[in-house]
């Protein structure tokens, strides 16, 4: 297998409902990535694109072929990936494998979504399509409701009084909002304190509005290249050194692990083993904080903190820049935003920028050499992890 590098990245601002089409959003991110890589559209051999809801948000299926043609990548194979919120990470992982295998030398991977443009009611409905439609949707499951149930289960399983857990969860949101303040591409840029979080609208007990990420519009794109191609294009390649992906069935059937998510533990172990690193080696991690409780569960599943203890870790600053591992210095899904089909590529964008030392000083993890991404789709149905490393 060949080494594969990220040689260029691009990203739109993640935002509330806006007027650009999915193709336009992706075109902006893609051309930024292509240009940064010192390439032309004709150099791209294939496109791997995450998109979940284009069919619903703008009546557009097969967005990948229109996106490829639109940016001048004519007639190349173009594949769409749908794994709910993990879609773009699935696309990046597949792109990685095709370059690693030797089949392609230069590919474009990324994702795009217009989730905010759908409005809350339709977005809630279509997000719930990633739960079991026949056996769990009849009970009225929504994404907040499912993570809300995990929050109550987490409190019960680890013996944490719910008020204490809520304070821990609020601390997670406070940190994410804080870093997002300094990220010009973030959707929600405001300081929010614990008091405001605990006063916000109750979405699904115990999760309040500020425990939940927003629905966002946005796109992100990356150019992946073989080591040989990468060396000609950049003197600062960021290598993808480990990848993992795993699946699980309906939420209730994950009973033996909940509130842990087994797919994450399998996927992250694959990525760690392939990269030859351990959780303690990770300097910076963008993890899937679709809800505050999801951050706690993720940080434990990735091996950063003990089960039931990550809330305390956040409160002690161990998940902040300068702590044990810098988690979500982009602001995470909470503040940076969650255009679901693009989110995973946005995480790789952030890690690449972090390792290159190119983000705003207030949120730069100084000297970071090894980064990680963690993207969750559905109710733990799909998990994708990647380990990235400085190549200079």
């Amino acid at each position: 297998m060949r080494k594969v590098a990220v040689v260029g990245v691009g990203e739109t601002k993640f935002s509330a409902a806006q007027e650009k089409t999915s193709v336009e959003l992706f075109a902006e991110a893609a051309m930024e990535a292509i240009t940064e890589s010192n390439l032309k559209p004709k150099d791209v051999q294939a496109l791997f694109l995450g998109n979940v809801l284009g069919d619903f948000s703008e009546g557009q299926g097969m967005v990948q072929v229109f996106a490829a043609e639109n940016i001048g990548c004519r007639n190349i194979p173009a594949n769409r990936y749908e794994g709910a919120c993990a879609s773009a990470s699935m696309a990046v992982r597949d792109a990685f494998m095709w370059v690693a295998s030797g089949f392609y030398d230069i590919v474009l991977a990324g994702g795009v979504e217009r989730a905010a443009a759908m409005g809350t009611a339709l977005a809630t409905r279509t997000f719930a399509m990633s739960s079991d439609s026949r056996y769990e949707f009849p009970s009225g499951i929504t994404f907040p409701a499912l993570f809300a149930m995990l929050a109550h289960l987490y409190a019960a399983r680890y013996g944490i009084p719910i008020d204490k857990l809520k304070e821990q969860m609020a601390t997670v949101s406070v940190q994410s909002y804080h870093y997002g303040m300094f990220n010009p591409k973030a959707h929600l840029r405001k300081e929010v304190d614990v008091e405001a979080i605990l006063k916000s609208f109750m979405v699904s007990t115990p999760l309040q509005l500020h425990d939940c990420c927003p629905f966002s519009d946005g796109a992100a794109a990356l150019i992946l290249a073989s080591e040989r191609a990468a060396k000609k294009l950049t003197n600062r390649p960021v290598y993808i050194t480990g990848v993992g992906q795993a699946s699980s069935g309906p939420l209730a059937n994950q009973q033996d692990y909940l509130p842990r998510l087994q797919a994450r533990e399998i996927s992250s172990q694959q990525a760690y083993n392939m990269a030859g690193v351990k959780p303690k080696d990770i300097d910076v991690c963008e993890l899937h904080d679709c809800f505050s409780i999801a951050s706690l569960i993720a940080a434990e599943g990735l091996g950063f903190f003990e089960y039931g203890k990550s809330g305390e870790a956040w409160m002690k600053g161990e998940a902040a820049i300068g702590g044990k591992v810098a988690i979500n210095p982009s602001g995470g899904l909470k503040s940076k935003g969650h255009p679901i089909g693009a989110t995973g590529a946005g995480q790789v964008y952030e890690i690449t920028k972090q390792l290159r030392g190119e983000v705003e000083p207030e949120r730069q993890v100084d000297g970071a050499k090894i980064g990680m991404t963690d993207t969750l789709g559905g109710d733990g149905g799909t998990l994708v992890n990647m380990v990235l490393r400085c190549g200079w």
Binding site: R134, Y135, F137, M149, L153, M202, T205, Q255
Partner: protein
């Protein structure tokens, strides 16, 4: 290979307040809702059995934001129940005020009271039924 307990038959039974599952002849695990393969050992050798519909609440939430078209159902309680036969299942809770539901629900014994039919919307392929539980007196 024929699917042993299809959605349609499971759903019809649930509407009659009958909870069906599959018992693995190799490892004894109960699989519910139905699947082709045992959720534990992936054996295909399973028989359809009737479950008691009794269990313990593992977790819950009171949902205040619904999917498009289901706003009239708010607020409602969603549960994960561990059935006496060992499998977990998602359902709803009746007879408890959703606005005051608290952590005290976890661990309470419940019994299935009815199958509540969601008639379906423009996206779903017809109806589906949710098992509705009540706390045992």
């Amino acid at each position: 290979m024929e699917y042993k307990l299809a959605f349609k038959d499971y759903n019809e039974a649930l509407k009659r307040n009958e909870l069906l599952g599959l018992k693995c002849r190799e490892c004894g695990t109960i699989t519910v809702p139905p699947k082709m393969a045992c959720r534990k050992c992936a054996s295909l050798d399973m028989e359809v059995i009737k479950l008691m519909g009794k269990g313990k609440i593992q977790t819950f939430t009171t949902c205040n934001v619904a999917s498009e078209g289901r706003e009239d159902e708010l607020p409602y309680i969603i549960l994960l129940v561990e059935l006496e036969e060992g499998a977990w299942i998602m359902g709803n809770l009746a007879g408890t005020d959703p606005t005051t539901a608290s952590m005290e629900l976890i661990g309470q014994k419940v019994r299935m009271a009815e199958g509540r039919v969601f008639p379906g919307d423009r996206y779903s392929a017809g109806e589906g039924t949710s098992p509705v539980f009540r706390i045992e007196a």
